[in-house]
């Protein structure tokens, strides 16, 4: 059956990349891209990094620097971009998507790139305008309007976004304290070794981090507009509460349409949902992967969104569904340190440090069942790019002993292993 109409729900990194790849791979049919945000689709990582810094620091908006594609590109690519619209329902029998303004879009193939939404606090109304999260451009803009040098900010949740924002705000003269109910911060998606290193940077720079701190209530303060109280009764007054307490995959549409959902829209190895004409990609999708002990992954990252979009765009354009495979990568920034991560680290992985953490540049190598599974690097981009290559070659993952012989120099090992595999091929012919 020929594919004439593709509808993409969600205009973030995944949705936009799907549209671009479809055209690049020669798809000539109609492409509709539906996004809830009013803005031209933009990149999200800067919202807690450079965009926040530019707005709070007074540099102003960054213009086109945030756009995923130039605004003119959508017309050039013949992508029907519907901004500021939600998809309200999915009719699988008639292959229709209903939008919030009453439009019906027909599809032959549908791509769910609905992303994730932040967990929220549901604060009392009198302080609700001072409890913010960072998911959209307007969230960052709202935060920037409410704080400036001298302000006090409580960051609730010690994950990547909360601590990234803490470092940006603190550097701009905002007093920041971080509160987390877990015994450690940065305990998701990062090795304990790297988490400790980053926490040390925060402490050294004057950010207080309170762990084992459970929020009891948010209310109006006496001296500042907002007050937070823990279950032990200790309080903190501030101008603004920034919540970074995780996200939930946007699965409502899929669930209502009867697709399989389990902390994410469940897809197969080709990223197809339980309906073969519907794909799910990016933050909202749970896909099979033996890089995780649990056998599946749902990742919140630009790289995952982009790679899955390319895979699906290619599959639809060519009619060939293949197995999706990619080395997951992430990055995060704190106090001028840029941490690049490749692979999936899990609690219990054996960690080896390569380089000199005290001097600033080092990598943490994670091994599971004796094989390299992940590498986290600070100021060692070459390690990171070599790690991507090494972890992409699933048949030849090195052991700690393999790497020890090369003093844990990933680039040297990678070159050696490539040379030797070339020799093997030559030997066989």
């Amino acid at each position: 059956m020929s594919v004439d109409d593709v509808v993409i729900v969600g205009a973030g990194h995944a949705g936009v990349q799907t549209a671009v790849t479809l055209r690049k791979r020669g798809f000539e049919g109609r492409i509709s891209l539906v996004g809830a945000d009013d803005e031209v689709p933009y990149q999200r990582p800067p919202l807690s990094k450079t965009y926040l810094e530019a707005l709070v620091g007074g540099e102003g908006a960054l213009g086109g620097l945030l756009d995923l594609q130039p605004e003119s590109a959508y017309e050039k690519l013949r992508v029907h971009l519907l901004r500021g619209r939600e998809v309200t329902a999915l009719d699988r029998d008639r292959r229709l998507v209903h939008t919030s303004d009453g439009e019906e879009l027909r599809y032959d193939k549908l791509v769910l790139a609905t992303g994730a939404r932040p967990r929220t606090l549901d604060p009392p109304e009198e302080v609700s305008d001072r409890v913010v999260h960072l998911r959209t451009k307007s969230d960052t803009e709202r935060l920037a309007r409410l704080v400036g040098p001298g302000a006090k900010v409580a960051v609730l949740g010690g994950g990547f976004i909360g601590l990234e924002a803490a470092s940006v705000l603190s550097r701009l003269g905002v007093e920041v304290q971080v509160f987390d109910n877990a015994p450690r911060v940065l305990n998701r998606g990062l090795s304990t070794r790297m988490a400790d290193h980053l926490v040390e940077q925060h402490r050294r720079n004057g950010v207080s981090i309170h762990t084992d701190w459970s929020l009891e209530r948010v209310t109006t303060g006496e001296h500042r507009p907002v007050a937070l109280f823990s279950d032990r009764g200790d309080g903190y007054e501030c101008d603004l509460v920034l919540t970074g307490i995780g996200v939930l995959p946007e699965t409502g549409l899929a669930r209502a349409a009867g697709l399989t959902v389990d902390d994410g829209v469940v897809v197969d190895g080709s990223l197809r949902t339980s309906d073969g004409d519907i794909y799910a990609i990016g933050d909202c999708a749970r896909f099979p992967s033996d890089r995780s002990t649990g056998g599946s992954l749902r990742l919140e990252s630009v790289q995952n969104a982009t790679e899955q979009a390319k895979h699906v765009g290619n599959a639809i354009a060519t009619g060939q569904d293949g197995e999706y495979e990619s080395v997951p990568t992430f990055w995060t920034e704190h106090w001028g340190l840029r941490v690049q991560m490749a692979g999936i680290v899990e609690p219990g992985d054996e960690l080896v440090v390569s380089g000199e953490p005290d001097e600033g540049a080092f990598s943490v190598l994670a091994f599971r069942h004796g094989r390299l599974v992940a590498v986290e690097s600070v100021d060692r981009p070459i390690d990171h790019l070599s790690a991507r290559r090494i972890l992409g070659d699933r048949e030849n993952l090195p052991s700690a002993r393999d790497l020890d012989a090369y003093e844990y120099d990933l680039t040297a090992w990678s070159k050696r292993s490539r040379e030797s595999s070339v020799r093997e091929v030559v030997g066989r012919t």
């Binding site: 990582p45 800067p46 990094k49 450079t50 213009g63 086109g64 620097l65 756009d67 594609q69 130039p70 605004e71 003119s72 590109a73 630009v302 982009t306 990055w331 840029r338 690049q340 981009p381 070459i382 990171h384 790019l385």
Partner: protein, 108 residues
């Protein structure tokens, strides 16, 4: 007057942009909506996705390639040549008015 930079796409089409001195060539492309530069890392010489080929007559007139940029250029998606640079590492100055760079087929 702002220096003018020309980006040549793989299909031969050209984009001329005027950009304030102090910005990088990568930022010049992003601000002016020139397609074909990814700059995944935001301009830190850490991702090799803002790769450009500098036109012959300009290669000698650019600032030297740092050790970091040199090693990152090993990881570009398209072939690295003598003309290869990371555009985030080229700061636009008045002397670079008229610079021409070619964009590779792919960045990732």
């Amino acid at each position: 007057m702002q220096p003018r930079i020309t980006f040549v796409h793989p299909d031969g089409t050209r984009d001329d942009v005027d950009v304030a001195p102090g910005r990088s060539v990568m930022e010049a492309a992003k601000i002016n909506q020139v397609d074909g530069i990814v700059a995944e890392c935001g301009g830190n010489a850490m991702c090799a996705t803002c790769h450009v080929y500098v036109a012959d007559e300009w290669t000698e007139r650019l600032p030297e390639i740092s050790m970091v940029e040199e090693s990152m250029l090993e990881f570009t998606a398209c072939e690295r040549t003598d003309a290869s640079r990371l555009s985030c590492q080229i700061e636009v100055t008045e002397e670079l008015d008229g610079l021409v760079v070619e964009l590779p087929e792919e960045q990732l």
